[in-house]
Symmetry: C2
Subunit: 337 residues, 2 copies
DNA sequence: CTGTTAGCGCATTCAC
DNA sequence: GTGAATGCGCTAACAG
């Protein structure tokens, strides 16, 4: 005796009637089982099976003020750097009963503001941003909304609410320190146009202590853009000895272009990426990079929101997860693959 | 005169009061402006600004039965093959006022069923699956729910509702036809373990007309797995002349492993991928592949749901978007990059 | 342990 | 054009 083809979905009312209990008892049997007798619970369970009942979480959320949804906002899904973060964010949230509402900003502050407004209207229990929120109006509005917000992949003294990330300036500086230790003179930067990549470049240039030839390519980066960036850099600096790239994808493109031009990597040209993408350890040569724990960023962001929603305090607002350089063959012939 | 820090968000009731109109007039001024006088609209607009009102879409959806949310379900976000589809899906939906609820199944039919049940509870106006829904119970439940469902990246005579994709069997067959035309005798397959990749392998083997050495790697694929797959295949078939891969990522790994072993691609070993990933045209050698219009799949899926929600008929249920082979250097030394 | 009462914030009837 | 009632499906309060 199946439900009719889709006249109307069963409601909790139908379940209660079928089980011979009151509406609220049925509700409790499902969402707060500890407080209902075993016998009643069994009756309700049977009624749920019989009716094919699926709770309407929108209705529940309206009253309880908990939507069990979290908004996750990225520049674009194609920015593979953020994928492990979004993946672990989604997984961690799902394990706690939350679903992710996805938004894309296309690196555009206006779209960002629009997306955030739409999201707020859906009453998410939390918002996770990749990057810091650009628009001041959006920051104010978020702060006043009272919704827990986690900004990620960056740091700030004055986050909207919480922030989980690392210092891009320090990343750039660390790579520059590494380049200096190698004694490379003629160096260049291949970088995406986005804010965080530019910050890394600033850190790099500051530590190098002088102006550095730079090729800027539009975000998101790609292998093709990496190839173009190297062509661009070689035109500016024919004796180029080493390149600092704002992503492993870009670095891979630089390596390919170098090889096509007959340059040996790392003997003629050293290349460093960023992000520790999974492929970087397995290319030939393998690519030196800066490791950032993307999955942990997502997991922690999710946990912070889950904790906040559970009423736990959470004193700490700023979480610096740091980074570390991974030396591979693209800067050091004797490095392990 | 800002709203208090977050005592309570403004409701439509507050807006109506501030504007000196009734609740329903305020509602209409926002959601059905054509039917309200200009003067009233202006007053309501001003009140919206003053109160910082953001509509609660959960509440609206409860009554109107339209949540303006669409569930999008992928095996895992890290399967880069689906990214362009999810991206265009999200963008197309957003342009029509819909948001995407993201779910991940990890290629596990049980998780798939669980995810679908959760999603149905959120009353989405549509559900977009990558792949066909495996579990028969989930299929029945979805059909009865009356929610528009689009299965994608595959074809079926009996979709739950609608399907947008192409024939994986035919893809495999087309690649086999190409290999046969080249006269390659010793060929192998490197394939992911997922259902659709296996279908392509079946098509390939059927057209080759004999058993083919195969290396199966767990989905999702990676460059590293591609390298391992070639090692595996060469152990089975030392005279291997050509490899058919279930993704461009795998193909890239096969190329790298071949080069490391001193095999020239394509002279000693030809390699074909699948998916036309953006990097494949820019590696050295560039990678022959099968192009599938991922963004169009997402766009069409979104459009079908939007149309259905707007009450338009939509007679066609099955959309075969086809595919085409792109010959590049990894199978043909004289091919363009 | 169970039930009754009252809404959550909005949009769909109807009236005027 | 505008407004007053009613209820979407569910759960927080309180009662018993």
């Amino acid at each position: 005796m199946n439900a009719p083809l889709h006249f109307k979905a069963a409601t909790l009312h139908d379940v209660a009637k079928a089980a011979g209990v009151s509406l609220i008892t049925a509700s409790r049997a499902l969402s707060n089982p500890g407080v209902v007798s075993e016998k009643t619970k069994a009756k309700v369970q049977a009624a749920v099976e019989a009716t094919g009942y699926i709770p309407n979480m929108l209705a529940g959320g309206l009253k309880s003020k908990r939507s069990l949804m979290v908004a996750g906002i990225v520049p674009a899904l194609s920015v593979s750097q953020f994928l492990p973060t979004v993946q672990s964010l989604t997984t961690t949230l799902a394990a706690a009963g939350y679903q992710l509402l996805l938004g894309q900003t296309a690196y555009d502050p206006e779209r960002e503001e629009a997306v955030l407004n739409t999201m707020i209207g859906r009453q998410p229990d939390g918002i996770v941003m990749t990057g810091l929120v650009q628009s001041q109006r959006a920051r104010d509005r978020l702060r006043r909304s009272g919704i827990p917000v986690v900004e990620t992949w960056d740091l700030s003294d004055r986050p909207i609410d919480m922030v989980v990330g690392f210092s891009h300036l320090k990343v750039g500086s660390a790579v520059a320190g590494y380049f200096l230790s190698k004694g490379w003179e003629e160096v260049g930067v291949a970088t995406g146009s986005d804010h965080r990549a530019q910050l890394r470049r600033e850190g790099f240039v500051a530590t190098m202590g002088r102006d550095i030839p730079t090729a800027v390519v539009p975000a998101p980066s790609s292998l093709e853009l990496g190839r173009r960036a190297l062509a661009d850099l070689l035109a500016k600096a024919p004796k180029l000895r080493a390149v600092c790239c704002s992503s492993d994808t870009l670095a891979q493109g630089v390596v390919v272009e170098a090889q096509v031009r007959g340059l040996r990597v790392p003997e003629d040209l050293a290349v460093c990426g960023f992000g520790n993408a999974d492929f970087g350890a397995h290319t030939a040569p393998s690519v030196t990079t800066v490791h950032v724990d993307g999955p942990e960023i997502g997991r922690l962001a999710a946990q912070l929101i889950i904790d906040r929603c559970s009423g736990r305090p959470g004193a700490q607002k700023v979480f610096d997860l740091g980074f570390r350089m991974i030396e591979r063959q693209s800067t050091c012939a004797s490095a392990p693959a």
